[in-house]
């Protein structure tokens, strides 16, 4: 067992983890932040995307111990109380979600895209989101949502 400490959504947290514990397991099972999802076991789907030190990361590909000392933001930390982040708002306005399972990862990934490329073309949005699989929406409205958020 190892002790890890990090800041998650602005709060300091720490816990005992096995060396093999993934960051996503630590977030879901120990911190009970279940907004971050697990959709695969091959790092393909992006349902688990969170921000680590400001960058989007697939939290199923990172060990909890690797995140020791870092600043983590999950989907639960994005909105300001009842006020949605502009990306969340854009997803809602454009019906960019159906079952909602891919959504947290999709939103976290899209937020990072706009940080790195504030005015992406449609092609750039699609390419960036290539690591996030959605089975419900056909991506049409997700792309529209990101385009709207980029205008905001």
């Amino acid at each position: 067992m190892a002790t890890v400490s990090m800041t998650v959504n602005g709060k300091s947290v720490s816990g005992e983890v096995e060396p093999r514990t993934l960051l996503v397991q630590f977030i879901r099972e120990q911190l009970h932040l279940t907004g971050t999802h697990v959709g695969c076991d091959t790092s393909q789907c992006g349902a688990c995307v969170v921000h680590v030190n400001g960058d989007s990361v697939k939290s199923c590909t990172m060990l909890a111990v690797q995140a020791d000392g870092s600043d983590v933001t999950t989907i639960e930390g994005l909105a300001n109380g009842d006020t949605l982040h502009p990306m969340q708002e854009a997803f809602r306005d454009n019906h960019g979600l159906q079952c909602g399972f891919c959504t947290p990862g999709m939103v976290m990934s899209a937020v990072d895209l706009l940080k790195k490329n504030p005015k992406p073309s449609e092609g750039e949005i699609r390419e960036w989101l290539e690591g996030n699989i959605c089975r419900c929406t056909g991506y049409h409205n997700i792309v529209k949502a990101v385009q709207q958020a980029a205008q905001a």
């Binding site: 349902a47 290539e130 056909g138």
Partner: protein
């Protein structure tokens, strides 16, 4: 055809009620549920497609750290996982129906079959311990392909004596043969409808719990139909009476059919919970999902279409082989039969149709309904053979469709394969799609692409489907063991807010919004005063769940009927208070008014009166305002429309790019156009996925070689353009709302449009056929072979 585009009524693109919780990470999916004292299950699965289990030694696993129990098929003596449909072969004999134990007994029949369950304090402990279970297998030859299985050399189930589950037919074979003999031309085609893995993004999960104090079991599960699971598991597998079994399907991360069925893991965690005295959670990882979720499609078809000299269709003859996999999943036998062969008229007046369907057991994962379920298979067949007939006869492919369309004034239209279509206007959707797709400009675009060395093609699909399943009078006679009606309860609370209990289940479809819109519209109440409750058998009276695009057409109609009962009763209450006759009470904009007077009561006042009654005439009027309705539809609903796909192929690489996809769908009345369009987008993406990307491939030994997201090509954001989606058309004639259903049209209509476009692009290079998925390798090879 929205009736209004503002406010929250029918036709308004109301933003979804459910989005806030999903966007903020507050969704409550099965894996998010943690019960006090919860333990974890890991299922040990067969690594072989077909083998005898000669021994299982789980002593080391039982002794491993944290392990609470290990159970095998010998320990779990329960009923068989049931099948919901019984098909009869053409000789009258019932389908062969093998036993389906939740944990294998004596034999495993596909890679992924459940062999043992290990329950431990943590998931890692259970998984680690499972590795120490020693299972001795005597590996048997596997029947992997349907052609192999049909030889019966290796029997998937020895005790039933054959791999042929049933040999069924529909239609008038003599009439078809007669028409064929007089035809000016016969077009023949051989098709494979590729096997798919549904891959809802949320893997299946189940939490079983037993309360020793009350004797009540609770199962939380990723299901599209919790009441159906309660019925099947309670009555047939575990013998738990309904009043002691609660099934909860909380937020569910997509279903697409794969979460309809009653799966072994649900029974295992429920059965084992009292044995170990703790709740048990099981969650599939994705690799496990690939080999344990029911797969979709997997048909082989041969079809012949007879035409007269004018290109009119005279007859269609179809032979289908349908893969059932190793066991009969809940809906499996009805997919290639009543959900597929009955659709073979499509949008055309073909007067004689005959289909023969052989359903075959193989040593593969069970196959069942996946978005569209049978209708994509028949649509693909019809729309491919119609295109081919056009090529062979030299008639334009749009013209040949027009010549054979069922005219808009011919409804109700009785097909030769059991169904009676109530409404449609295929010419209208075709003309609109032609305009939106800019068919007129296609030749110029093709020439421009050619100047860049690229091949452009355009493909059509003028499809039809039957959904809103299902009228019990129709499906009962066809072999369903239950009619698929739906129920709703509308509970008006004393202060006038409303809770609606629906037997349908929302796993992405947005019922919490659409159904609230319906009630808001009809009762004149603000949306925020209406709550939609679904997914918990302890709250909701009963329900058949959500699949077959049925929620609005069947569940919505039940809801409307319950609301109308509320209005009727409320009128009586208002009449009593206002001292008028109930017949004189008018209800409008949330107010009950005595006709021709200014005496009125608001909805909230009536609600309060219902719960604090004074002097009600008790023999005529009970207190309370809470009504239920069960609705059994008179017929299926028949959405249809036109999909046009434009592709561009790079002959150097074989890569097909979808440049433009146009869908004009007649889905009946639209309640929320935003949600409706989203449903079409998702369906079209799955259809294009089937046509260009996805394929569940088995090797000869029965290993699924595309068993992860690394190997199975899921559609991603960069595989698509934006889609041009519109709805227009006709109303369903047999439900109050005029709605038809929209959940599956995208997946049903699109695959032939894509493949017809690919063939169109390759035609001038001499390519004459293309199978799904049209991967770059296949396209490139076809081009090389044609040179």
């Amino acid at each position: 055809m929205p009736d209004g585009t503002t406010g929250t009524g029918i036709g308004a693109a109301v933003k979804r009620v459910e989005d806030f919780r999903f966007l903020t990470g507050k969704g409550n999916y099965t894996d998010d549920i943690n019960r006090p004292g919860q333990s974890y299950a890991y299922i040990l699965r067969s690594p072989h497609a077909h083998a005898k289990i000669t021994s299982i030694d789980s002593s080391a696993a039982k002794a491993a750290a944290g392990v609470l129990a290990v159970f095998t098929g010998e320990d779990m003596q329960v009923g068989s996982l049931p099948c919901g449909w019984q098909i009869h072969s053409k000789d009258g004999s019932p389908m062969l129906e093998p036993e389906h134990p939740p944990l294998a007994k004596g034999k495993v029949r596909y890679v992924g079959d459940q062999v043992a369950v290990v329950i431990a304090d943590t998931y890692s402990q259970a998984k680690d311990a499972a590795e120490s279970i020693v299972v001795n297998y005597e590996v048997l030859p596997a029947a992997v392909s349907m052609s192999d299985a049909l030889t019966d050399k290796s029997l998937v189930h020895d005790d039933i004596g054959s791999n042929l589950c049933f040999d069924w037919e529909i239609g008038d074979e003599a009439a078809v043969d007669e028409a064929m003999s007089k035809a000016a031309h016969i077009t023949k085609i051989d098709l494979v409808n590729n096997r798919l893995v549904p891959n809802a993004m949320e893997p299946r999960a189940a939490v079983g719990e037993f309360d020793a104090a009350t004797g009540e079991y609770t199962l939380y599960t990723t299901s599209q139909n919790p009441h159906v699971i309660r019925l099947l598991m309670g009555a047939f597998v575990l013998s738990i009476p309904e009043h002691k079994l609660r099934v909860v399907a909380p937020d569910v991360g997509g279903g697409f059919g794969s979460k309809i069925y009653h799966y072994a893991e649900e029974a295992i965690v429920t059965w084992a919970a009292p044995k170990i005295g703790r709740p048990i959670k099981w969650v599939a990882d994705r690799s496990e999902a690939f080999i344990s979720d029911a797969h979709g499609r997997d048909q082989i078809n041969h079809a012949e279409l007879a035409l007269d000299a004018n290109g009119k269709f005279l007859a269609l003859k179809v032979q289908t082989q349908a893969n059932m996999g190793a066991y009969l999943s809940t809906f499996a036998p009805c997919v290639p039969t009543y959900l597929s062969a009955t659709l073979l008229a499509g949008t055309y007046t073909t007067p004689a149709i005959h289909a023969n369907v052989k359903a075959i057991f193989t040593n593969t994962v069970p196959v069942d309904a996946y978005r569209g379920a049978g209708r994509p298979e028949s649509t693909y067949l019809i729309e491919r053979i119609v295109d081919q007939a056009a090529r062979e006869t030299g008639i334009d492919k749009v013209e040949i469709r027009r010549r054979n369309f069922i005219p808009a004034d011919a409804f109700p239209y009785q097909t030769p394969v059991a169904l009676q279509y109530d409404s449609g206007d295929y010419e209208a959707t075709l003309s609109s799609a032609t305009k939106i797709a800019d068919v007129a400009g296609f030749a110029a675009r093709k020439a421009e692409a050619a100047s860049r060395g690229k091949l452009r093609g355009m493909g059509y699909s003028t499809y039809l489907e039957a959904c809103g399943i299902a009228p019990s009078a129709v499906v009962g006679s066809l072999g369903a063991r239950a009619g698929l009606y739906e129920s709703a309860e509308v509970r008006v609370h004393p202060t006038g807010s409303v809770t609606v209990f629906t037997g349908t289940h929302s796993h992405g479809q947005g019922h919490e919004t659409t159904f609230a819109q319906l009630v808001s519209d009809r009762l004149g109440l603000p949306m925020e005063n209406i709550e939609i409750s679904h997914g918990d058998t302890n709250k909701v009276q009963f329900g058949m769940g959500t699949y077959g695009s049925r929620s609005l057409a069947v569940g919505g109609e039940a809801l409307i009927r319950a609301v109308d009962k509320i209005i009727d009763k409320a009128k009586k209450i208002a009449a009593h208070v206002l001292e008028a006759s109930a017949d004189d009470i008018e209800f409008k904009d949330g107010n009950f008014t005595v006709a021709g007077t200014d005496r009125s009561m608001a909805f909230g006042e009536v609600a309060l009166t219902a719960y604090v009654p004074h002097n009600f005439p008790h023999d005529e009027l009970e207190p309370g305002l809470d009504e239920k309705a069960f609705y059994d539809p008179a017929n299926f609903t028949y959405p249809g429309g036109c999909h046009i796909c434009e592709v561009e192929i790079d002959p150097e690489t074989g890569v097909t790019e979808v440049i433009k996809f146009t869908a004009v769908d007649d889905v009946g009345r639209v309640i929320n156009p935003m949600i409706v369009e989203g449903q079409v987008h998702g369906g079209v993406a799955q259809g294009i996925g089937q046509a260009l990307l996805e394929y569940a491939a088995y090797d000869d030994s029965g290993q699924l070689v595309t068993g992860s997201f690394m190997d199975y090509t899921m559609p991603r954001a960069d595989n698509f353009p934006k889609f041009d989606v519109t709805t227009e058309g006709t109303l369903c004639t047999h439900n109050t709302l005029g709605v038809k259903g929209v959940g599956e049209v995208g997946a049903i209509g699109s695959p032939p449009a894509v493949i017809n476009a690919v063939i169109d692009a390759l035609w001038d290079r001499g390519v004459r056929d293309m199978s799904m998925p049209a991967t770059p390798e296949k396209v490139w090879s076809a081009l090389q072979a044609a040179e």
